[in-house]
């Protein structure tokens, strides 16, 4: 079971990222839960400044961009390194 966190207050790019993350879960065929993190104080603890950010199992994998569902699926398929 993997945990995917989408960091962002809920603007347009954050919604696109959330949609891509959900698509990636289906694509990669792994069990994963997609959580939205909208609280700024909490977002800042990940050390990013540009939203949206994407965190897989506690590790920041991207920020300030909207990776494609294909990219996210690749990251989900990788064995956890952190």
């Amino acid at each position: 079971m993997k945990t995917i966190e989408v960091l962002g207050p809920g603007c347009n790019n954050c919604k696109r990222l959330e949609a891509n993350a959900r698509e990636a879960v289906a694509m990669a065929g792994v069990e994963a839960e997609v959580v939205k993190v909208t609280d700024f104080a909490q977002i800042m603890t990940y050390g990013i400044m540009s939203t949206p950010g994407l965190v897989i199992d506690g590790k920041v994998v991207s920020y300030g961009r909207v990776p494609s569902a294909g990219d996210i699926a690749t990251w989900l398929a990788e064995p956890a390194t952190a």
Partner: protein, 345 residues
Amino acid sequence: MLTLRQTRIPFWFAVGVAVVAWLVAWFAAAPLAVWFAFDLLGLQPGTHIGEAVAFFVYDVPKVLLLLLGIVTVVTLIRGFFPPEKVRGALAGRGELAGTVGAASLGIVTPFCSCSAVPLFIGFVEAGVPLGVTFAFLISSPMVNEVALVLLWGLFGPGIALVYMASGLTVAIVGGLVIGRLHMERYVEDYVWALQGTGGASIDMKLTPEDRVRDAWSYTKDLVRRILPYILVGIGIGAFIHGFVPTELVVAIGGPGNPLAVPFVVLLAIPLYSNAAGTIPIVQALLGKGMAVGTTLAFMMAMTAISLPEFIILKKVIKTPLIAAFATIVTIGILMIGYLFNFLIP
């Protein structure tokens, strides 16, 4: 980087084809518009309806092409200037160099009002002075690529460059003034408490292909969202261009009306989210005799004075500092408006 995506045609070949198609469309737009309005529809040049239709069918493809082309290129370039890197460059500078640097970096750094808060906290955390941070917060939304592209395409390079210079000036002066006011106590306490938690920005190792794909997907999404507003805006602009009498526009928005500048600034506040659709209307008004300073003030107020952004900034700064920020930006815009109305009557 590995992807699960199946690429059927080679990526860089597709990019090349897109660039060539863009260039062909760009040079064909004007003759096609004339042909469509005056030959195909049989309208007469010089008539109200003829001029309005020609204006519409020329401006729509031109604006669309400019947005697709330039926003993609700008997004690609600014991918190299993420705020995580920018703040490091700003933290150690002196007051003046830092403020000028922050205002200039505001041009290339991505910004939307929802990233204002993480950006603000990140800057403060890294030890960037408050005045420098605000220079960035003023310049970043105001001197943005969509406004510049539309100004360049519809008004020509002159107005676009004047707009950029004016925006930078307001940002630099505003940042210096806020820095001198020493308002650090109006930053919410928890922001100071967060210091030292951040800074662990990872390197995402993007390939050139990733960057081009990112830029293109961002641009497609942006254009899809703002296109309806632009079409309506160009439609209204075309109507003004063909039908509204010049005397009416000159009487209200011309250099003879001293209240025009504050009036358009007030008018611009609720139009914040519709800047893309309003610019074509403003262009038609300028063509009908609205004063240049008034036009600039309107454009700047539309992008820089954003109530949603002020409300979201409430999470990190207290009301007196937001009020100071809004007041300084508004005064700056009014001064630019009057200055250009005085210089170019």
